[in-house]
């Protein structure tokens, strides 16, 4: 008797690479939209990157945003963004960096202005980032993404071969661009934790890609006949169960994080949810397709003059 719950055992192989034109068009379309949006609309950067002041306060009853706005405008903060944060009682106020005012005491002044309106208002969070620090963070963030990509490229080159390394990095770049693109198209707030999420997605998507490549390598060494595309297709099919189960468990915890982790982790978990979906897709299509386009073949992954017999060649 076979396992009861093997819902993902397939009767027939799915021809993933036969449909690679559609995938290529879809990927290119998404990337084009992302890049267009990033260059025309840009990202809705948080104060981590732009500098400025952010204040989160809690009221005892539902907050009256219009009243808060007028209160702040009276104090000369007409350009402050006021919005609810998670609950109707919690309010988030953002003041963009200003050239003329000494930003060091804005947090205090804002709170004093709010206290004048309602004695009960409670300070939950203040963040002040100087413009210079913001710029440094942006640079460091960009550098971190680049550096991570290069390190990974080197590792995959060392473990596999350059065509696969290019394939995996293409998949990663694809994921990062699309995630940034989605944040740009929907103008979701982009702060440091989102950047961390983007880097975590790099790790995750890579994990997926490597697992598929690993099987491709194994099959290349075992099945000497047949063309590369067919072998890669078989490999992806063999790993499909694992790919889907792992994505599912990861998505389950991310859903938990999104639903119960509080407002502060909403952006982080949604970035990861997008990333896991895009990453799963890219490790099947983008990574493999790029390697195929570079004419990766059996010869590329054969160890130079080494015994491969012990690999358990029981077919």
């Amino acid at each position: 008797m076979g396992p009861v719950m093997e819902m993902l055992r397939l009767r027939r192989e799915i021809d993933f690479f036969g449909r690679r034109r559609i995938a290529t068009v879809l990927s290119l379309f998404l990337i084009a939209v992302s890049i267009a949006s990033l260059s025309f609309r840009g990202l809705n950067l948080g104060i981590d990157f732009t500098g400025g002041v952010l204040l989160e306060v809690g009221y005892t009853q539902d907050a009256n945003l219009a009243e808060i706005r007028s209160l702040l405008a009276q104090e000369g903060y007409g350009d402050a963004q006021v919005q609810n944060f998670g609950a109707a009682r919690d309010v988030l106020i953002r003041v963009p960096p200003s050239e003329s005012v000494d930003a060091q005491s804005i947090g205090e002044e804002l709170l004093a202005a709010l206290r004048a309106g309602d004695e009960q208002v409670q300070l939950r969070r203040v963040e002040f980032v100087g413009p210079q620090v913001g710029q440094e963070l942006t640079e460091r963030g960009g550098l971190a993404v680049l550096f991570a990509l290069v390190m990974i490229l080197l590792y995959v080159m060392f473990r596999f071969q350059w065509k696969f390394a290019v394939g995996s990095v293409a998949a990663l770049a694809h994921d990062v661009v699309i995630i940034l693109g989605i944040f740009s198209v929907f103008q979701l707030p982009f702060d440091l934790t989102i950047l961390a999420a983007a880097l975590a997605v790099i790790g995750y998507s890579l994990n997926d890609t490597i697992v598929v490549f690993d099987r491709i390598r194994e099959n290349f060494r075992r099945i000497r006949t047949g063309d590369a595309q067919a072998i890669m297709n078989t490999s992806v099919n063999q790993m499909l169960g694992r790919t889907i189960i792992t994505s599912l468990t990861t998505l389950l915890v991310l859903a938990a994080l999104f639903l119960w982790g509080g407002e502060a982790l909403k952006g982080f978990s949604s970035a990861l949810i997008i990333g896991v979906i895009v990453g799963t897709y890219s490790s099947i299509y983008v990574a493999g397709n790029t390697a195929l386009a570079l004419k990766a073949g059996t010869a590329d992954l054969l160890p130079p003059k080494k015994e491969t017999g012990n690999d358990g060649a029981v077919t």
């Binding site: 460091r140 099987r215 029981v314």
Partner: protein, 612 residues
């Protein structure tokens, strides 16, 4: 047959039991507490402890326990309210020589504490508190030093009868000599006074010039010195504020991070830490007309035009009798009229000068000048340093005094802040806040609750899913996941790395990814079974073949985590730490741990099928 050598089984057992023990302190929670210590760092005696206990009891504040530590007294309370009222009570009743700090003390039972085990330390976003990043204006130290060289050179050359001008220019001293014949002797003299400077000179017609610059090494030393002295002063100030377990640390070349967990009033902390306020005591030019000088915009020789808080002009002598640096103690109190005052105590050098000044100037007014350095942005958005000077009092000297006297003319808050600043010492160089992150205590608690809820919910969902999908093997993976959590908590407790909200996110993500190793193994075993291998052989080759894949996949994720750690700041680092620990631990629990269980359950018998 699949059997593990005894040592491997023992290793798993020891890791899980040991990890469990180390993680144990985390389940007890904290009590709010007040820490009493003496400013002179002497211990607290039994008598003082008793007095404290009685004072709290008579005020009706419930105390959970009083514990004597080598250099302090720890009083624990059942609620934050009693903690705060106890602090206020003790502040009033105790002698000013004591320092009070609010703290959270783990409720760990004594036998665990005796083993030296501690719970995880919580980051500011979970505990509440303030994080500041200050930039030290090291250039001002360099400028000051160069100016003092210029003064010094000018004076010494004059003594030698050399006609010259010497001034500070772009971080260098420029000396211009009227007669070129003086160049040789002047150069010799300067090199003798300050051999460490780098000199350059030239002749310009009949005249000549010398420039003296600070070398790279000297500049670095000056800047380093300014930063480390500022760190010391900031530590003093933090101690005065009463914060338990503060962090004051250098970051990069010219920045200082200050983290104050549990601080309730970030505004005060910010004001005190960043303040450059100091005072100078000077005689007033009582026989000159201040209003006239104000109208002309020019002060008589030897005098300086200053204003008080209401804008009234006051002429002060240029000569300083004593300044804030010469104070040995300062306390906030009240004067004989009930007005707020700062009682100060001058060190001997300042005291001698003060005695002399008061003897000579009985019944004449003396001014106290309050000086604060501020950084503002000009029209171009470039920072400019501006000194703000205010005369806070000009009182008639009624009697001769030397070391002990008081400063009046401030409100209560100003007096309290000034006393604290004078006690803690003046900063070597002005500092400016470039980043602040404050988390109120209520948000911190919310973050903890939500983080815990998310971890439990995520864990349950995954456990449910894999138990149904992989049956017995799924339950084994569940146990491995539990062990993984325990080990992560144990390691975080051992490392005492602060757990932050992104750190919790890292743990949650690990739950998802840790299962991946087991998914890889189990899918491989199923595949082997499908290929017609026996259950025992399938288990063996499933584990063996999946190993390479798991290692490859995890190493690449570790690389990403490492990059995050290196490039990231505070909260991102926290995420990287938990993610890396989680991956490393999962390699152990998901591979070695589950194998050990699988072998124990299935290893010794003949199997016709597996519950997978």
């Amino acid at each position: 047959m699949n059997r593990y050598p005894l040592w491997k089984n023992l290793l798993v057992l020891i890791a899980v039991v040991g990890g469990g023990l180390i993680a144990l302190p985390n389940i007890y929670g904290d009590d709010p507490a007040v820490l009493v210590s003496r400013q002179d760092q002497g211990g607290i005696s039994e008598v003082e402890a008793d007095a404290t206990r009685r004072a709290l009891a008579s005020a009706g504040i419930e105390v959970l326990g009083v514990r004597q530590r080598p250099d302090s007294l720890l009083v624990r309370f059942d609620s934050v309210e009693s903690q705060l009222s106890a602090r206020d009570l003790l502040t009033e009743q105790l002698d000013p020589g004591y320092l009070l700090a609010l703290d959270l003390v783990p409720r760990t039972p004594d036998w665990i504490a005796a083993l030296g085990l501690k719970p995880m330390s919580l980051g500011l976003d979970l505990q509440g508190g303030v994080h500041f990043l200050f930039e030290v204006d090291t250039e001002s130290v360099v400028t000051k030093r160069v100016e003092s060289y210029a003064d010094d050179f000018s004076r010494r050359l004059r003594e030698e009868g050399i006609r010259r001008t010497a001034r500070a220019l772009d971080g260098a001293v420029r000396v211009e000599l009227r007669r070129r014949e003086d160049l040789g002797p002047a150069e010799g003299l300067l090199a003798e006074i300050e051999p460490d400077l780098e000199y350059d000179s030239g002749v310009d017609g009949e005249a000549a010039w010398i420039t003296a610059t600070l070398g790279e090494a000297r500049l670095r030393e000056l800047r380093d010195n300014a930063v480390s002295k500022n760190i010391t002063i900031l530590r003093n100030r933090v101690n005065e504020l009463g914060v338990a377990e503060p962090l004051v640390q250098r970051q990069g070349l010219g920045r200082i991070v200050v983290q104050l967990p549990g601080v309730q009033d970030p505004a005060q902390a910010s004001r005190i830490l960043g303040s450059t306020a100091t005072v100078e005591f000077r005689m007033t030019c009582y026989d000159e007309n201040a209003a006239e000088a104000d109208r002309l915009g020019r002060a008589p020789i030897g005098c300086e035009l200053q204003y008080d808080a209401s804008g009234r002009p006051i002429l002060l002598r240029r000569a300083v009798i004593a300044d804030g640096g010469q104070l040995v103690d300062a306390r906030q109190g009240f004067d004989e009229n009930g007005q707020p005052a700062v009682h100060v105590n001058l060190a001997s050098r300042g005291a001698d000068a003060m005695l002399e000044a008061t003897q000579e100037n009985l019944n004449r007014p003396m001014g106290v000048l309050f000086i604060e350095t501020k950084r503002e942005l000009d029209e171009q958005g470039e920072p400019v340093i501006r000194e703000e000077k205010t005369v806070i009092s000009d009182a008639i000297i009624r009697g001769v005094f030397s070391s002990r006297f008081q400063i009046t003319g401030l409100n209560v808050v100003e007096a309290r802040d000034l006393a604290l600043l004078l006690r803690a010492g003046a900063l070597e160089a002005p500092i400016f806040k470039v980043e602040e992150r404050t988390v109120g205590p209520s948000l911190g608690q919310d973050n903890i609750d939500q983080g815990r809820r998310a971890i439990i919910a995520g864990l349950l969902l995954v456990v449910l899913f894999i138990s149904v999908y992989y049956r017995v093997f799924g339950m084994i993976a569940t146990l491995a996941l539990g062990a993984n959590m325990v080990l992560i908590v144990a390691l975080l407790s051992l490392l005492q790395a602060a757990l932050t909200l992104p750190g919790i996110a890292g743990i949650v993500l690990t739950v998802g990814m840790a299962v991946d190793a087991n998914v890889l193994i189990f899918e491989r075993i199923r595949e082997e079974l499908r290929n017609g291998n026996s259950p025992q052989a399938s288990i063996r080759s499933g584990y063996d073949k999946a190993l390479v894949t798991i290692a490859d996949a995890n190493i690449t994720t570790l690389i990403a985590a490492l990059v995050l750690f290196v490039f990231g700041t505070g909260p991102i680092k926290g995420f990287a730490v938990t993610l890396s620990l989680g991956i490393l631990m999962s390699m152990f629990t998901a591979i070695v741990g589950t194998r050990s269980l699988v072998n124990l359950i299935y290893g010794r018998r003949r199997l016709s099928r597996l519950a997978l």
